[in-house]
Symmetry: C2
Subunit: 432 residues, 2 copies
Amino acid sequence: MIRAGIVVTGTEVLSGAVTDRNGPWLSRELYALGVEVAEIVIVGDRPSDIEQALSLMESQRLQLILTSGGLGPTADDLTVQTVARHLGLEVFTDAELEGRIEEIVRPLRARRGVDAEALRAGNSKQATIPRGAAILEPVGTAPGLVIAAGGPGRADRVVVVLPGPPRELQPMWRQAVDVEPLRGLLAGAETGQLRTMRLFGVPESQLAQTLRAAQRDGVRLDLLEVTTCQHRGELEITTRLRDADAGIYGAFEEMMAATHPEELFSTDGKSVDEQVAALLSGRSIAIAESCTGGLLAARLTDVPGSSRYVRGGLVVYSNEAKVALAGVPQELLVAHGAVSEPVAAALAQGARSALDAEIGVGVTGIAGPGGGTPQKPVGLVWLSVAGPGQQTLTRSVRLPGGRAEVRERAVTVAMHMIRRALQHQRQGVAAA
Amino acid sequence: MIRAGIVVTGTEVLSGAVTDRNGPWLSRELYALGVEVAEIVIVGDRPSDIEQALSLMESQRLQLILTSGGLGPTADDLTVQTVARHLGLEVFTDAELEGRIEEIVRPLRARRGVDAEALRAGNSKQATIPRGAAILEPVGTAPGLVIAAGGPGRADRVVVVLPGPPRELQPMWRQAVDVEPLRGLLAGAETGQLRTMRLFGVPESQLAQTLRAAQRDGVRLDLLEVTTCQHRGELEITTRLRDADAGIYGAFEEMMAATHPEELFSTDGKSVDEQVAALLSGRSIAIAESCTGGLLAARLTDVPGSSRYVRGGLVVYSNEAKVALAGVPQELLVAHGAVSEPVAAALAQGARSALDAEIGVGVTGIAGPGGGTPQKPVGLVWLSVAGPGQQTLTRSVRLPGGRAEVRERAVTVAMHMIRRALQHQRQGVAAA
């Protein structure tokens, strides 16, 4: 298998001020192309640290090295110069490339009134590249590079230099895979697959038991690369496999479906958000939420085109708002408290009536850090889905974590309840 | 300055399935202790790749190496064994530690019905540590380690082994800084400061000009380590400085306040969310939002204690909901369209009336990807803040990016408008 290394440069990333998105994104892209990533190294803008990272990857004989960042017009952006020096390549200023960069930068200059001299120096700096390198045309203002490295006459490894902003890096990487010598290198790779199963309501320890049982039953999981992780309250199983092992993966998937029929909700990579969006097509939904404070409405409307089925939402934080907007009877609040089964159900019904929707969702809970009692601790959330039709689904959960985690997990639970309500309805219709 | 390296292990992080939070967090912690991070290396669970990362850091003569992850009870968690072998240290099973781990695991076993034999093997594995290492007591089930490495009799570097889950790693790191030989190493560090300024409404190119002007005026920015980044539509300037250079930073801050008096909104690290929360204390607010779909209400209620001032919110996605819930006159929608100045103002007033709040906020816009026209393109958002008192602030913005970015940035613009409305009110009262 071809092995690659990724060097992410930038003091703001190394210092923790900004979260790197390029390393993980490139890692996923590479795997789909049959390339395995040995490591991601995050360094500052110091040339010596960039060189150390390149040396490490050289000593590991990695065939492909990708860098992100450090291609800007200013003097502290030194990736191209450092890579060229490290590979022993001479640099020159490509006059044609300089002209193309000038074309891109000119309208920006007019708008912002930037100093002309500084700009010219920047263009020239960005057009200074190693001899023999293939140019990736800029999406922003910085060109990328595909460089053959190794002995004279024969390249034994490829270095790809990409800009730091993800909106530039991503299309330029897609451009790079068709450029020689990278295209040739990738042609020799054995492609693999990245498959995902998603479960809701299965703790990680129980999954470990299921996996052990599968191996006992002869499913050759040892030939697959299975990783599991908790994500937004769901359990995600990501498997990397060679195309040749697709049959083993099929057996694994079947076994999972048999063991966790209710909990396994996705085998095709689709998220619960996408599933709910598809199930809501041609219907209408409204939300009345308290502790989640708008997050459930925000998650439902995150999907383009959701305006066709999301009627609207009520954020009923105060008891007054629960009564006035969602029509929760005052006596329910007095008798059971705001965080209770009848109030959750009344919120769901209230959202449905107030916004004239087919399906109503109610959420009420204690997100913390304050407000908990022994009877109703922080993390207790009541949820209800009213509709479609006469059915109502109401349940409580006790969620772990701090305020943000409780809120986010409550939204995930709600998404799965909506999914279940719509699926049961559909199955009911199919059976009738 | 003491230099450190961070090794993050985990196939799920390397493959991009999970975003690493430990590297950036440890990097920030280290800087505050006067330690500079040379690099963060993310590797899979393969021992040879972990060893390569350790070798790299050795060749750079880093005095401190931190590892995160790979401390679990299963056979694929190999960090301790790999570190020990790399440092040439013998391992043994610490019977007392094994007993303490057993105490922690026993209640979990009872609850989940896990196989007793597998559990015992896991405990023993987690209690197997290098001789001479100091133990960091587990927050989860895995102990951490502080290890002196180097020639016999004299440690010239320190390796700290920490677990992967952030909720375990963070308290265990805080514990580690008081443990020898790490405490001794850190005592020799020259402590620095990490300071933050935040601006809203200044493009990065304009800031670059301000920084150049500052240097011309004699502010020795070359002695500070200044990094800037766009974050959630704001511009964040993070500066690392030695305590001795605090005077220079003071001059920098003064110059920024003089050049960008309206745009510089935070010099003490406080976010606009914290500022708005403080300004809203003793007041009440309500929201009617369309394109942001609940995100503004969610952001305001993200702060603990926000139930004291957030009355509630209306997510009025459809025109019917705008009329029925927020009382927007039908004729305004017909005459100006849903995305317009009068409708934004009517939403703000409507939220205020419907929820009986002092301050009302209205947001209406086109988040895309569909729905744009030449007159009203994707990214156009109208926002309005009504109150406190008689004042109303209404404006439009044209936001870049995709649906998620437009929605998030619109929320940030709204937060700054709320801040400004409340501050002007406060200043008005002070002046009267």
